[in-house]
Amino acid sequence: MLPTNHVMDLIPGYALDCLNEEEKQQVAEHLSQCSSCQKELDSYQRIVDQLHEAVPPAEPPPELKHKILLGVQLKRTPEKADEAKPAWQRFWTRLQSGAPVWAYASFALVVILAASNIWMMQRVNRLETTSQAEFRVVSLTGTDKAPNSTGLLVMGHDGNMGTLVVDSLPTLDETQQYQLWLIKDGQRTSGGVFSVSKDGYGALAISAPQPLKEFAAFGITIEPAGGSPGPTGDKVMGGKL
């Protein structure tokens, strides 16, 4: 059965997010059962997504960039230092920051009674901290086949995904591509194929069958377009974890 209360007149406002709460709810409920209104919304959303092109640009003060990048660096350091501590130490630090006297006595009692449990918790937290290690970055350098090339392999949070970016690699003809190899115990697993622009830069979203940080090294070779089951061509770049 077709929905009877089409909300066409409200859809532009919904895309712009200028409806009141009642109207928003009315539209949301209708959209869940009306694909034609959803298509209307999609078309208006595309318009809203372009309005930024008409924003009057303005130059921020020059020091703002430095503030932001400094903030990024400062934000990373305390968290990573804190994460590295065992759980009991983080708890003790928080307790020292303002707990009343009686809490110390209670804490001492808990420690005595639960000594074996805390020991087990530390072992588990050490494993968790290892798996939450900071992002890894591997620098790749060119071989004599591509001496000016540079590259970075950045591993993502979960370890299985990462990004490869390269610069100044020679362009290849259309019958060839570069292929990334993930190397472990002498075995090479393909990390994907990519081409480079006329300026020699390229990027590849890597998806690996196991966490990237479990591989010992990475290499890039020239292969037939589409890739090969194993390396056959010249090695152009390499790097070790």
Binding site: G13, D17, C18, V55, L69, V72, K75, E134, T163
Partner: protein, 191 residues
């Protein structure tokens, strides 16, 4: 490494991998948009700086949540900037409760013939198509759209700010959006 050569999506992936230089490059590309959005919405340099800082910190923290299927990186960034500017504007408005805005303080879309526009090269012409479309609308429709877009005004709030009946403002926003869609989608299909 020259980050200038990488496209926006690659920069976002690098940022998700904690590469601060990639964030620096993204800042170079889009800080004028973010700062411009914030200053246009708030009319205050200091608040615009805070919002810009906040937006890029959010990009740093949320880069891994960006998905290309949802749209371009620039649209994602503009969305973060717009939402943040609206939040700050609403907070400021609540602090100044009772003071209404005069028409001189309305946020404005950038006109296509403004001095901000550089030489008429093909890429700039393409960027200005949205501006050109907006400036084909009657001023009343454009003003209403600007209030909704930059400050997150509802129909009711826009009507109060403009001193116009609610029904009139609703119609202006609806017709303005319809006209924009007509112009921009037509351009796309005829390109």
């Amino acid at each position: 490494m020259d980050y200038k050569k990488f496209d926006d999506e690659t920069l976002i992936r690098l940022i998700a991998g904690s590469q601060s230089d990639a964030l620096g490059e993204l800042y170079d590309r889009y800080s004028r948009l973010v700062f411009g959005m914030a200053r246009n919405a708030l009319g205050d340099q200091g608040l615009a700086e805070e919002i810009t800082q906040d937006v890029f910190m959010r990009i740093w923290n949320k880069a891994s949540t960006y998905q290309a299927v949802q749209g371009k990186v620039v649209s994602w960034i503009a969305g973060i900037a717009r939402n943040r500017a609206i939040d700050v504007f609403r907070h400021q408005k609540s602090l100044l409760d009772g003071n209404s805005l005069s028409l001189e303080e309305l946020p404005l879309f950038d006109p296509p013939d403004s001095l901000n526009v550089e030489k008429e090269i093909e890429s700039k012409l393409k960027e200005r198509r949205v501006q050109q479309a907006l400036f084909q609308l009657p001023k009343e429709q454009r003003d209403a759209l600007a209030l909704a877009y930059f400050r997150g005004y509802t129909h009711e709030e826009a009507a109060e700010a403009l001193g116009q009946p609610l029904g009139t403002v609703k119609t202006r926003i609806r017709l303005g959006m319809q006209k924009l869609r007509e112009i921009l989608e037509d351009e796309k299909t005829s390109a």
